[in-house]
Symmetry: none
């Protein structure tokens, strides 16, 4: 789906695409999504703000969601690596606090307000979102958990995909259902909880 928008890694000297227009479009889309929200975000509006013809957008992207996706990608950059100090709890704390900070930042509103909603109704967006944005980060986390399990810091019988869900789930739950705002300060407490569990002691010991 995202094929035409040649990624920066490919040979840009072979296409006549205007990098200036591309940047103006992504920036305009991100700004507008923050200002007016995703439903009111409009291809015409993006073109107007970017000083670009509508066709230039339609030529390279298939929907406003696809534009935002590329915008977020540019924004999120490549930092998918996970710290590895040897202490899994500490590493989770540092990485996930940063993540929580990003999710709560207004810079990432197009992600929350636009992409995740769009993904619920557009399989192409859903796939790109998962593949391009989420999976690299999930994989990085998972790799770190594998190491932690080898190090004996995580029980051997724990399915690490489940572990990722347990760690990141609460973050997105608060982000998307608005029960409580996402707050990096809460992250360490939640990590402790996930590590220790709710149960008072090993297995059903004394009353």
């Amino acid at each position: 789906m995202n094929a035409p928008p040649t990624p920066p890694t490919s040979d840009r000297s072979l296409d006549r695409r205007s990098e200036k227009a591309r940047k103006a479009i992504l920036e305009a889309a991100m700004e507008l999504c923050r200002e007016v929200g995703y439903p009111a975000l409009t291809i015409e509006g993006i073109a107007r703000r970017a000083g670009v013809g509508k066709q230039t957008i339609y030529r390279w992207w298939s929907s406003k969601g696809a534009v935002l996706l590329e915008g977020i990608n540019d924004l999120a950059g490549v930092s998918t690596d996970f710290p590895s100090t040897g202490d899994i709890a500490a590493d989770l704390r540092s990485q996930m606090s940063a993540t929580a900070g990003l999710l709560a930042s207004e810079l990432f509103e197009p992600y929350t307000r636009g992409l995740i909603p769009a993904a619920q109704n557009d399989p192409d967006i859903a796939e790109s979102l998962l593949e391009d944005i989420l999976q690299p980060r999930i994989r990085a986390c998972r790799d770190r958990l594998v190491q932690a399990q080898k190090d004996g810091q995580i029980r051997d019988d724990v399915d690490l995909a489940d572990a990722v869900d347990l760690l990141y789930g609460p973050l997105y739950y608060r982000l998307l259902l608005h029960t409580r705002p996402v707050d990096p300060a809460d992250v360490p407490r939640m990590i402790d909880l996930a590590m220790q569990g709710l149960r008072p002691w090993p297995h059903g010991a004394p009353t």
Copy 2:
């Protein structure tokens, strides 16, 4: 926000509102949202399918999201009570499996595809969704956890709001980010994980 749609319990003799139209609208909206998705859901389309004038929708609801909200509310009914057998893990399993089943059911697609996305961009929807749909269920869960804590089945120092996030987070994470489909069969495993935590017993046992 949901004030005008007087619930059937209030004095309908002073209310000239047509119950027939109301039902036709809610049903049409839910159907259409499932069929064409939330972005393509249209007030005009709802009116057409319901055999109703557009004004009749605008008179009582402020947006397509508000219509869906009432539709989901009718659908979800009043069953917010939580089982209480004395075994918290068993109770969570039975309740949360049911919840996972609903979330995965296509009947609830308007909730996933429509309401949660809409809530990201419309504070009124967000508030009603939280107040009318989520909070009653969260409260019910929380009350059960309070009991469990009293019974010594949950550590005393656990913040129960955190506990709710830890339990329900993974469900919504999978639902909305599409990393893995929501599956009731996975629920017991996730509950065990949340109860026990990731960490191996500190040299045998905890406190």
Copy 3:
């Protein structure tokens, strides 16, 4: 068409129609037509301004044109009589100057802006307008012309229906085509012209 709106001559004590509502409606309609023009005149608007239910209008009149018709009728009153001093030119001058004054008056805008236009597209309005408003006045003029012809002040071979057209035509021509505003001061000149004709002398006499 105008049957239900019982004329003031019939027994109003036998119907339960509210005279208060009737007057309020007529007045509101005339005012609004002057204020916003005929196309923007609305049954709802009339009802609102008159403090009356819409049904009360629909019960007694078939269209906004019919309301105006009755309003104009009330306004124009019964004075259809033509002066008869023995001098036809003088009588025409006095009568037609008054007519020109009325037509130019803003009180009669609903007639110009509403009824005459409406009559072009609604045969019922056209008929009532002709029968109730115009014909009585045309007849009065014609009767006076008959007398003048008997008195030798008008050629015997003149068709008096043509004469009426010749006299009143220029008035309505200016009124409705807006070539020049209707001005009572111009009336005597036009009457002289109609009486004398354009031709320099009897029949082609000297150069």
Copy 4:
């Protein structure tokens, strides 16, 4: 007001306007006005029949009246010239009979039923109607009358604007007030009347 609808004489290479759409719109509007009348004439209806988006109408015209105006203009064409045989009465007869024929023709119903009524309530329409349709014809008539006056066929003291009113007034009077249908056969009689006047020859003069 008629500025945007660039006439075919101007530089169409800079004008991206679709001539096909323009023609379809004018034709549809004229047809519909004849079929359903002016009040029931609708921009949506015109667009539907013309197979055109509504915006394409709103882009170039300000109201349904403006569309009809252009349609009538296309229809009436450029034939504003007046015959000049030397006999003013004969020339008036030939020209005004033709005019009466047009006014009575159903082709011109949009003019009678639509434009003239619209002009009563819309100053823009009134101005364009006068400027684009009426004045050229009035001027042509007037010029012919000037010649006739020079030729001694019209009294020197006659104001020729008055003369035009006297000649055309009766036509429009019958057309718009529906006292009698407009009939080209009546034209010569009315012209004779206007030329000779109503008054008997001063002391019995003519034949």
